[in-house]
Symmetry: C2
């Protein structure tokens, strides 16, 4: 209060030459704040997008797993007589556990704000995990397609239909995980600049 | 010259407290230069690595293409009787053209220093191209494996051996392209910060 009454304290205000730099500084701060806000928004969007994609991938892998595992109709119509279908089931189970684990971790981080791993480790795990599981799903779906095609040439029944839908679900899971891998790659590359 | 004789002008030099900031400034400049040099080295390494990987992918796809296309031994031992092998051949041809085109473009850029596309466009083309062709190669190799396995249970002859080696080459091409896709993803994400 005493300094405000002091006439010398008002000196900087009396120079009009100092006003423009102050404005520029203000503008700079505004630009900086808005770019940080934009970045936060983008990161939030990426987080939500990656969680949504993982959720979808979990749903599709689980469906593929259940449809393939329940595909037993006696005699030659058992999925476990064919190595392609057994491979498809194995990868669907792996993908279910992987996406389930990642989705749980992300929901846990959302709700508590705590991180299980360091940001860099979790970004690496996400990127390589997504990429590898996407390749495996693509491989499993591709391996099972020709056998199903050949069976359907002979007869179209509940066994071939279930196999086809399990393969379709594995393919959808592949697409969502491939997109998710792209987002995790973007996150991973951003880590280097924080 | 008149100001240097002015004793008041020498005031800042007389303060020893100003010396450390000058040193710090120097150090900062050195750190900045070395970090730029490091970045250049890293970018050069990435460029060479990506060209080498593309060259390997070209070699493997070409081998897969040639081995599969020459796999005709009469009767049931013709590759074009089986859709899996036709698919594998188609993807090997696609991958040969794609990796050949990319390698040519990179060699052209290396030798002339000119860029055919803007840096951003070429980074996008590389990343999505590598990723998509890698998925296709994985899919083609996986689709052709079960048929070959089943044939080999019956008899092991030159037809099944050639098919197996063509599939192996497609798989090696997949691995090199998957690594190359990682490098292009890194390049793409760096584009945003230049």
């Amino acid at each position: 209060m005493t300094t405000s009454d002091d006439p010398t304290a008002k000196k900087p205000v009396e120079f009009p030459a100092t006003a423009p730099p102050a404005d520029a500084e203000n503008q700079k701060t505004t630009v900086g704040v808005s770019s940080i806000l934009q970045r936060w928004k983008r990161e939030d969007f990426l987080k939500r997008g990656s969680l949504a994609l993982r959720g979808l991938a979990l749903l599709f892998s689980l469906l593929s797993f259940i449809i393939m595992a329940s595909n037993k109709h006696g005699d030659w119509k058992n999925f476990d007589k064919y190595e392609e279908y057994r491979y498809c089931l194995a990868i669907a189970i792996l993908s279910t556990f992987y996406t389930g684990g990642q989705a749980l971790r992300q929901v846990h981080e959302f709700s508590t704000g705590k991180h299980l791993f360091s940001q860099r480790t979790s970004a690496m795990l996400e990127f390589f995990g997504d990429q590898i599981v996407a390749y495996l799903l693509m491989s499993a779906a591709s391996a099972a397609v020709p056998l199903t095609n050949r069976m359907r040439e002979g007869s179209d029944n509940i066994f071939t239909d279930s196999s086809a839908s399990a393969i379709g679900m594995a393919f959808l899971a592949f697409i969502t995980l491939a997109l998710s891998a792209m987002i995790s790659g973007f996150k991973l590359s951003n880590q280097r600049y924080i």
